[in-house]
Assembly symmetry: C2
Homo-oligomer: 152 residues x 2
């Protein structure tokens, strides 16, 4: 018997003052939209190493993951194929930022503006950043269908 | 170009008093060893739904995930093929425990005894349960290569 499984991915949240580092996507889906830096976990690397590699490829920055915000695996989160994304919170420890690989450009986005920009934000990354704002005060972790409020 | 990726899995930690629910594995690898209930995430389900389904199949218990302990993705953690496991902490909300599917039996294991039983424990589940003991006091999350101490 053969089963199909979601593909594991990683995304990284880097904050500077009140802003979050996002990439402008070069390719479909969501070409031209903003997304967190990230990508697929390759065989032979850990999720945390994949996060470091993807951020380096897309932004030329060296990072250190300091926490896991949560795991997002809603089957509809990527229109191509189901992904399961481990979202790390990371700090920049080196490098000079420069867009590369799948990134057409880089943008530091005001975290407080994400909600009103959400039509320009790829995948479920607006939701992830809303969770990140909560996490900064609660230190909880999140998953796609976790109850956000008593009434969810 | 085609890349190979790790396969996403889930494991679940259920505690009753000072004990953790583990299954005795029916199949290789680690046949006869103890493991946390869990398994592969299928396409079309979230990680949290996979945890509920796997625990139901292996123990006949209905669970509700309440937290993510961490994400474990060391390429060597499974001898068959690289897995990336999301480990949920869960509470039992229904069912009558009975071993099923890949479980030859069920065993409630004293959390404090895990360290000395580690030769009988499959995969990196002794490490996961050591992290769980820390988590209960720190509420942090963990990944395969996270620094455990200043000297790691």
């Amino acid at each position: 018997m053969s089963y199909r499984n979601p593909v594991p991915t990683v995304d990284a949240i880097m904050q500077k003052d009140s802003k979050i580092l996002m990439i402008k996507r070069k390719k479909e889906p969501f070409a031209g939209c903003l997304a967190l830096p990230g990508g697929f976990v390759n065989e032979g690397e850990t999720a945390e190493d994949a996060a470091k590699r993807e951020v380096m490829e897309e932004t030329s920055l060296e990072i250190d993951p300091i926490e896991i915000l949560g795991v997002y695996s809603d089957p509809a989160r990527d229109p191509r194929r189901q992904t399961l994304s481990v979202v790390f919170v990371a700090i920049v420890i080196g490098g000079n930022e420069r867009a590369g690989d799948d990134a057409a450009g880089l943008e530091w986005v005001e975290l407080a503006d994400v909600e009103k920009m959400k039509n320009r934000i790829a995948f479920d990354h607006a939701r992830i950043l809303a969770d990140y704002r909560n996490w900064k005060t609660s230190a909880g972790t999140f998953w796609s269908t976790k109850r956000r409020t008593q009434n969810d």
